[in-house]
Symmetry: C3
Subunit: 227 residues, 3 copies
């Protein structure tokens, strides 16, 4: 454990700033499209961009790491300014933003998982922290925006991929012992998974569907064996 | 104060795991019945099961006690699996789940209050922490599920009983100085209170009702004494 | 940095208790008017009154400062009792409550910003913390009450003024090095700004309006120079 915990990962810090900018722009355009005002755009930019990293600091209780480095706030504020003035323009580049969001979600998952492992938490807790860090931004955005969180409803595999990425990072890092390699690998895997899911419309199904399907298959199987 | 704070109470740790499982199953079935997907069921199981204990760790700022013990996460994940596949089945045992929830709410209230007292907080703050720990799970479930929190609306005495249990624990523990005895007593009292409230449909009334009633009684009393 | 961090500011502690009472009464009357029950009124009083200060303690990770001083909880509980019984009565003094809320928002902004500066954070982070501390109470109230947060939507300049107050405090405090003077100055400025905004109906505009306006002006300007 380092003497002063900085939350640093193997990848350079600017990648994390970039993730904050991407999340911030996504939050700001979301707010701008719904007609929020200056403070709404700013708040949703900061919340969506920094929400995940703030949750990491709160959950791991290692001090306000994100707040100590003003680069993070500047990134979120810059994203808010961009989102405020160019929301309509950015909307035309939906695909670019989706790709950037996929990359930054992978990064956040590895950063969260890695921070938790370095704080001495076990694999399960690290996976939980990684998933929370990767998904808190959009989650807080929906809560502050007054929407029912999209993350939890059936749809494109957002949370599943964040969870899978966190699991993968724990496995790869335990196996290779190379944080940098593991981070890059997981980010690429998360990116690929997200793009594939979007392209082929892979979606998660509601829970009860699967449950009743499992039951009905079981009972049919039971009937056949009885016959 | 212990050197490494473990958040342990007089009752053995498995009781707390059980409370997490009960909360987790409640959260998972809630999610499954509303058609959430895998990640929704998992997220609501973890949030409902662990939300209270996570709030304790965040409010008392004594480190991620819950995250350090992977037993807690396993309990919540196990509950999610059960809730995902058996949501329809569990729904038939409404009463059993209600009884278990009443027991685990009592336990969480005592654990929260006890942790706060051991962290050196005063009685009032300990009661606040106990009530928050006992009620945060269902509260977070409603917020994540996109519902207006049921806790705060008139209905069965959920929050009132959590508050009463926390008050009772402070009083009994100060009087007997026996944490184990106090815990068991409070859990039984909370259980009894919850069951009685459900059976006889004791409900809290909206605030203004009571206020205007108090005023009208006062004014009537004033008139009578004037006559 | 003091040995035991108390979160104290230059202004005496009772001013902060008063801010908690004002926020608590606002939260309690909000809850009472919407027909919440005892626990709803209590919860919204505590959340609205203490939400900002709790967020400060959570974000700065300096221990449960607010919870250690039971004066804060008593203030919130007292406010809940007042709000519960006098919600209808208080509603008649809308202007007084608005003025008190403006004063307490200014105080909370300076307290948040000052605490962050004393914790060694930079100016940007301190401004963010100040704004969060000043606005979290009403924000949490809306989330718990099941409303879409008013703070983020176009309307009276609530968040903008909290943000401006935090910026002003950083500037004035850096310039004068006199926390007490800076606090009083900022509180008066926030109060004046809020009252002026209410009186002359200064409102923030939705984001896209401004963006398209900026664009259309730019393009018109471009056309003119082309002609």
């Amino acid at each position: 454990m380092p003497q002063v915990y900085t939350g640093a990962t193997a990848l350079p810090l600017w990648t994390l700033y970039l993730a904050v900018v991407v999340g911030g722009v996504a939050g700001a355009t979301y707010a701008a499209r719904r007609g929020f005002d200056v403070i709404g755009v700013l708040a949703l930019s900061v919340t969506t961009g920094l929400g995940g990293l703030l949750m990491r600091d709160i959950l791991l209780a290692r001090g306000p790491v994100v707040l100590r480095d003003s680069g993070f706030i500047w990134s979120a504020v810059g994203a808010a300014v961009v989102g405020f003035f160019f929301a309509g323009y950015i909307a035309r580049f939906d695909r670019v933003l989706l790709a950037l969001e996929a990359l930054s979600m992978g990064l956040l998952a590895t950063v969260g998982t890695d921070s938790a492992l370095r704080a001495g938490l076990g694999a399960m807790s690290a996976i939980a922290v990684g998933t929370i860090v990767a998904t808190s931004g959009p989650l807080f955005r929906d809560i502050l925006g007054g929407d029912a969180p999209q993350l939890l409803r059936p749809g494109v595999l957002l949370g599943v991929i964040a969870l899978a990425g966190s699991c993968l990072y724990v496995a790869v890092e335990a196996w290779t012992r190379q944080p940098l390699l593991s981070q890059i690998l997981v980010i690429l895997a998360v990116f690929a998974g997200r793009i594939v899911a979007l392209r082929w419309h892979w979606e998660t199904r509601p829970a009860e569907d699967l449950a009743s399907r499992a039951w009905s298959r079981w009972s049919r199987h039971g009937q056949t064996s009885d016959d």
